[in-house]
């Protein structure tokens, strides 16, 4: 689904990403982890073509990302940014409907659009405040709305930057389980997650970034080791297997 080779990204004079290489297969759930400033958001934005790489190549679904038109690209990938700030008084359903732009022909909106919008709003539990102004929502509710918008876009690849950062524990589980269910239907999910326990629980693979380089990419067993957490995050942590959910649990000491 994603092929990144020899990727270098600079912003201003600063090199943010150095020689990134990795491959994501369709249907995978990838957790993007790393300390603050390690380049997670930049990597996600470069894949979404919001930042132009200085060097290197990114292929989406086997085709160079530069070969896509904007609309084609939006039919292949959707993106949930970290910042959900908005100043204008749209209602919630209007915002979610904007996710359908790439599927619409000129001046036309169809029934299938309405169906998927409703489906995704119900799935994210945002349908109940569909008529409310986006400005009257809490940060967490707004985050849910933008996730609904990205899902309504119905692209095979979904990129999310900290999608659960503003959500309470119920919705953290709800959204991550929803994304997991989507991967079993064949969608590919790449998401930045700060919470290592959530990352290890839901991701099939973890991509650990450090200082703009890929430190490790693999199953959580290989990535989350006490030694590596010490080297990247500079923390002393104990790692145990949580039998209840069959996932690694990181406890910083």
């Amino acid at each position: 689904m994603i092929d990144v080779s020899n990727l270098h990204v600079t912003l201003g004079d600063k090199q943010i990403l150095k020689n990134i290489n990795f491959h994501v297969a369709p249907g995978e759930f990838i957790g993007l982890i790393g300390p603050n400033g390690s380049g997670k958001t930049t990597l996600l934005k470069t894949i979404a073509q919001l930042i132009t790489a200085k060097e290197g190549k990114i292929k989406i679904a086997g085709k160079d990302q530069k070969a896509y038109s904007h609309k084609e690209m939006a039919r292949h990938l959707s993106y949930v940014p970290q910042d959900t700030h908005i100043d204008f008084n749209f209602n919630v359903k209007e915002v979610v409907s904007m996710g359908r732009h790439a599927h619409r022909e000129f001046l036309q909106s169809n029934k299938a659009d309405e169906e998927i919008i409703k489906e995704m709003m119900l799935a994210t539990n945002t349908w109940r405040f569909r008529d409310d102004s986006i400005l009257n929502l809490s940060g967490g509710q707004r985050q849910l709305v933008f996730i609904a918008k990205a899902l309504a876009q119905d692209a095979p690849l979904i990129l999310l930057d900290e999608p659960v950062s503003a959500l309470d524990i119920y919705y953290q589980m709800h959204i991550l389980k929803l994304l997991q269910a989507l991967t079993s239907q064949g969608k590919t999910v790449v998401t930045v997650l700060h919470d290592l326990n959530l990352a290890s629980r839901f991701s099939e693979k973890l991509l650990l970034l450090q200082n703009g380089e890929v430190r490790t990419f693999g199953h959580s067993n290989e990535v989350l080791t006490e030694k590596r957490l010490k080297e990247t995050y500079h923390i002393d942590a104990k790692i145990r297997r949580d039998e209840l959910i069959d996932a690694l649990n990181v406890t910083p000491l």
């Binding site: 100043d87 204008f88 008084n89 749209f90 732009h101």
Partner: protein, 353 residues
């Protein structure tokens, strides 16, 4: 929530129809009142009959020659110019506010109006306007486009492509163009030329003729219709560059194209009426409060609202302190500025704009 508000919120066709019908009625009333009232007032019924006669829809002869001349030669072109200018400035305002994601932007803010004004002043200063009547508006178009291109090019050269940078650039461009105009006024060679420039700079809608209507109607009508087609793109630009791009909008092309068209209609408006402020700000604001930010509806509603607003402002300017005629820009500012302050206070109290 009762049934009607529910329908208003959920049914876009219903909301669009109600809004546009209402705005059309407001514009029609403003139009008839604007043409009827003045130093020589003509009954509304008479005015409507003369309209219909002029349009050759009916054959009517119950009017005096004076009434006919006042309406068809004096007021009709003036009110038509007011409609086109008002519509153009309001629509350009909406488009720019959408692109810059700031409800306080106006064509004047980013230097487009003063670019157009400089173009027009150049046409008078170098005597082009005496060669051909089309050279003044063309020169205003070029001035507006030039301002737009300077802003876009400098903006692109900066690393940080933020909206704040763009607006600050506009301030710089504005002061530069005003300075250039002052240079031209100061070095003007003869009395007559100076008077021409000053008269033009004051702006306003006095003594507008069918020639003026002809000059601006085509570019403004085409420009506004093209901008109407960008409604959903502008909606998505409001969510921010990242959202718009990943939802399938070519943000660069959309921005450049929309700004060019906005510059074009602003240039056309400035060419016949000088700089009239606040319309591009106030009309979209009021409408946004009433109907929300959806550009698919906001753009056409603003065109109708801007036209009605300027007709009424012009009417006030010639009726309130008779026989003195105020500049229409003065009236627009008298209504617009307090409203603007009020809106800012509202915004800072945490109520959305």
């Amino acid at each position: 929530m009762n049934k009607l508000t529910m329908r208003w919120k959920r049914n876009r066709v219903f909301k669009t129809t109600i809004t546009l019908v209402l705005m059309t009625i407001i514009l029609a009333v403003a139009f008839i009142v604007g043409v009827s009232l003045g130093p020589i007032s003509i009954p509304f019924k008479e005015t409507i009959m003369i309209f219909l006669h002029k349009l050759q829809l009916i054959n009517y002869a119950g009017f005096t020659d004076q009434q006919w001349v006042v309406i068809t030669e004096v007021r009709l072109p003036r009110v038509l110019v007011a409609s086109f200018v008002g519509a153009a400035l309001a629509v350009a305002g909406v488009a720019m506010q959408g692109l810059f994601r700031n409800p306080l932007v106006e064509p004047g803010y980013i230097g487009v109006s003063s670019g157009a004004a400089l173009g027009a002043v150049c046409a008078i200063f170098f005597g082009w306007s005496a060669i051909n009547q089309w050279l003044l508006p063309i020169s205003a178009f070029i001035g507006a486009l030039f301002a737009m291109f300077v802003i876009i090019i400098v903006w692109k050269a900066t690393n940080q492509r933020s909206i704040a940078v763009l607006l600050l650039l506009g301030i710089g461009v504005n002061s530069f163009f005003s300075a250039m105009m002052n240079v031209l006024v100061a070095t003007s060679k003869n009395e007559q030329e100076l008077r021409g420039i000053v008269f033009w700079l004051q702006g306003g809608l006095e003594a507008r003729t069918w020639e003026h209507v002809l000059i601006i109607s085509i570019p403004i009508t085409i420009g506004i219709i093209i901008l109407f087609l960008f409604g959903s793109q502008l909606n998505m630009m409001l969510l921010g560059e990242d959202h718009a791009k990943t939802s399938g909008i070519n943000t660069r092309v959309t921005r450049n194209f929309v700004l060019t068209i906005a510059a074009l209609i602003t240039g056309a408006a400035v060419a016949v009426s000088g700089i009239i402020g606040f319309i591009g700000l106030v009309v979209p604001h009021i409408l946004r409060l009433a109907i929300g930010p959806d550009h698919r509806l906001l753009l056409p509603a603003s065109a109708l609202g801007g036209a009605a607003f300027l007709i009424l402002a012009d009417l006030i300017s010639r009726m309130v302190i008779q026989p003195i005629t105020l500049q229409v820009g003065v009236v627009s500012a008298l209504i617009g500025a307090p409203l603007f302050v009020f809106l800012i206070i509202r915004a800072y109290k945490g109520v959305s704009l």
